[in-house]
Symmetry: C2
Amino acid sequence: MSGGARELTVDLGERSYPIYIGTGLLAELGRKFTDRGFSVKSPVMLVTDSAVEGLYASKAEESLRASGYTVTRAVVPSGEASKSLERLDVLVEEALKAGLDRKSVVIALGGGVVGDLAGFLAASFMRGVKFVQIPTTILAHDSSVGGKVAVNHRLAKNIIGAFHQPEFVLYDLDTLASLPLREVRAGLSEVVKHGLIWEEAFVDWCEENAEQLLSLAPDALGYALYEGCKVKSIVVSRDEKENDLRAILNLGHTIGHALEAVAGYGELLHGEAIAIGMVGSARLAARFGYSPDIAERTERIFRKFGLPVRIPDSCATENVMSAMLHDKKFTEGKMVFVVPTAIGSVEIRSDVSSEWVKEIVDGLREGKS
Amino acid sequence: MSGGARELTVDLGERSYPIYIGTGLLAELGRKFTDRGFSVKSPVMLVTDSAVEGLYASKAEESLRASGYTVTRAVVPSGEASKSLERLDVLVEEALKAGLDRKSVVIALGGGVVGDLAGFLAASFMRGVKFVQIPTTILAHDSSVGGKVAVNHRLAKNIIGAFHQPEFVLYDLDTLASLPLREVRAGLSEVVKHGLIWEEAFVDWCEENAEQLLSLAPDALGYALYEGCKVKSIVVSRDEKENDLRAILNLGHTIGHALEAVAGYGELLHGEAIAIGMVGSARLAARFGYSPDIAERTERIFRKFGLPVRIPDSCATENVMSAMLHDKKFTEGKMVFVVPTAIGSVEIRSDVSSEWVKEIVDGLREGKS
Ligand SMILES: NC(=O)c1ccc[n+]([C@@H]2O[C@H](COP(=O)([O-])OP(=O)(O)OC[C@H]3O[C@@H](n4cnc5c(N)ncnc54)[C@H](O)[C@@H]3O)[C@@H](O)[C@H]2O)c1
Ligand SMILES: NC(=O)c1ccc[n+]([C@@H]2O[C@H](COP(=O)([O-])OP(=O)(O)OC[C@H]3O[C@@H](n4cnc5c(N)ncnc54)[C@H](O)[C@@H]3O)[C@@H](O)[C@H]2O)c1
Ligand SMILES: [Zn+2]
Ligand SMILES: [Zn+2]
């Protein structure tokens, strides 16, 4: 293990797994496979996207080959559109041609798109093979932990999926250096979210270290990703299948997903959309009698990270509302929202009136306070 | 519960579930939903095929509606081709349009095709919703129990799937009356298989009662399906995810699947293909020094049920062999076979030479003994 690497465990009984966070970790991939006793006789499939392939795929493969593994590379186009059944079909074909068997491992090398897609492949190929996550975006500190994997349907995001936990998560901070700044900001949005739902002190720290984080200073970044992954793991360990607690991770996501859908995927990045959504949820908190300071503080933090906090004009309120009513988080027709009660803690409310939500969406416009 | 109904439990801890076998059960579907506390607020989706729809869908739906449930019907074309990602995509669209939510139940009303497809829909829609099996073929006594669900890829059968156990299995013997005789025979092939792997006395009974079974005499049929489901449940309870024991259920399937693939799906029915496969496995047993009587007896039984015991000329040996080498049961390149050691017991051998298999496939021709 390289110097300064951090390690965490997602505690899920016999499905527990480690998260390694540090620099220089890609070169240790093969060794990690050997340590776990993965068979060298079964081919490994590395799934990556067209933007990441040229940067890091060879390094990962070399490490595996040096440890005796046979690796096949499968490259999907960069972008959300790859999270589809059509792409899954192509990957299954590649897996069959490469001779993958039940002892094979599927690796996701990339951001959340590659993680979700390769994860669903691993969950369903031969009814489930081993899976390893190598996140290469900041946002993927969230998506790579917790086992939610999925593809989209043209009518709904993440609607076809599974819970399939990885064998381990290998987070090599070096890979983040090539991330476009906009992706850095968007990823930090989920990091801050983990603070907002769980730990005020971490929110304070994020605000104080915003510049360091935006410039990818390794120490600050390693700490932030460690803390973000830690919150995520604690929550997932207590409620793997989202029966109750896990839903708090959806802070800002009800409005956020609707905005992504209405803006058209790719227009607003996921992290951008949920930053706006978190401001909306904080305003909802004030309606329930919690301090208006929560909304003010939430907005200030996201502004500091250069994230949007207002709904773009392209998203008409009625479209946002109707997208929300299609969201799978609405069980039996009621509106359910994660609402902050203070910075660092939230509650899940199932009594949210759609009128209030509409007013908040309406109010979250440029020019309105 | 109607008179004479039989009940069994698949013992899987908190995922345990009952199998009801008897006549007049379709009319009790709604009551079973109510007994289980399924929410009437969440829409139910009944998946069936074009051959079954006109016969039994209304009856099932009426029972549900009488108990207060909202039901949407989704009909897929009859036949193996419906087990595809494309069809899954269509069903997801229908589920979304019907407003299914996380508390909804997906029902499979049909044979193994509908069960496997609707089961994979239930496993993956919103990362998993409740599932109920209403088998309407004899073969589906096998496919409806045990939680294996899947769709096909054009290069491999059942390659994309999950383990997703139903909430219960409702086997209404009345629905079997409309089954074409060829389907009856093919279904009985799996019933006999359950005897061959587990219980000699049941094999004896099947042989003695072949005519009764072929004419669908309710008492004999109920008993046979109960015994078949019983063997399947015992095996699945001990090894849900097919780590070891469950593989014995694949008796005859290695050759059988290859024959299905080479003949072209639909040419040879699944039950027909595995009848031939079981004769092949019994011949393999003789190579390992077990009694040649096993093969003779196996062949005699299947002939009595009017099932094929020879490979059709359309399936060239080399094509059968190459199809087998693509089978997902071959871990790390070795040939693994379920081999009978006597009538009513089998062993799993991983040391089967492909030469022997080739000779047996070659010998299983009309005109050869
Ligand atoms: N499974 C979960 O629990 C979960 C949680 C949150 C988000 N998600 C999913 O994650 C996805 C978003 O993840 P994302 O933001 O990582 O998107 P992404 O995977 O599309 O990556 C963002 C962009 O950065 C590029 N990229 C990735 N790594 C790079 C690198 N190191 N250098 C340069 N470019 C790089 C990608 O090609 C892409 O263009 C969404 O589909 C969302 O639904 C899933
Ligand atoms: N999941 C498992 O564990 C498992 C086990 C064995 C087989 N299978 C799968 O099951 C499938 C085969 O099942 P099957 O033989 O039931 O095929 P099937 O579902 O195609 O049914 C056979 C035919 O009978 C028709 N039919 C069904 N019920 C009828 C009824 N009551 N009256 C008249 N016609 C009726 C169907 O429309 C179809 O044409 C295969 O896809 C196989 O892979 C799965
Ligand atoms: Zn998110
Ligand atoms: Zn079978």
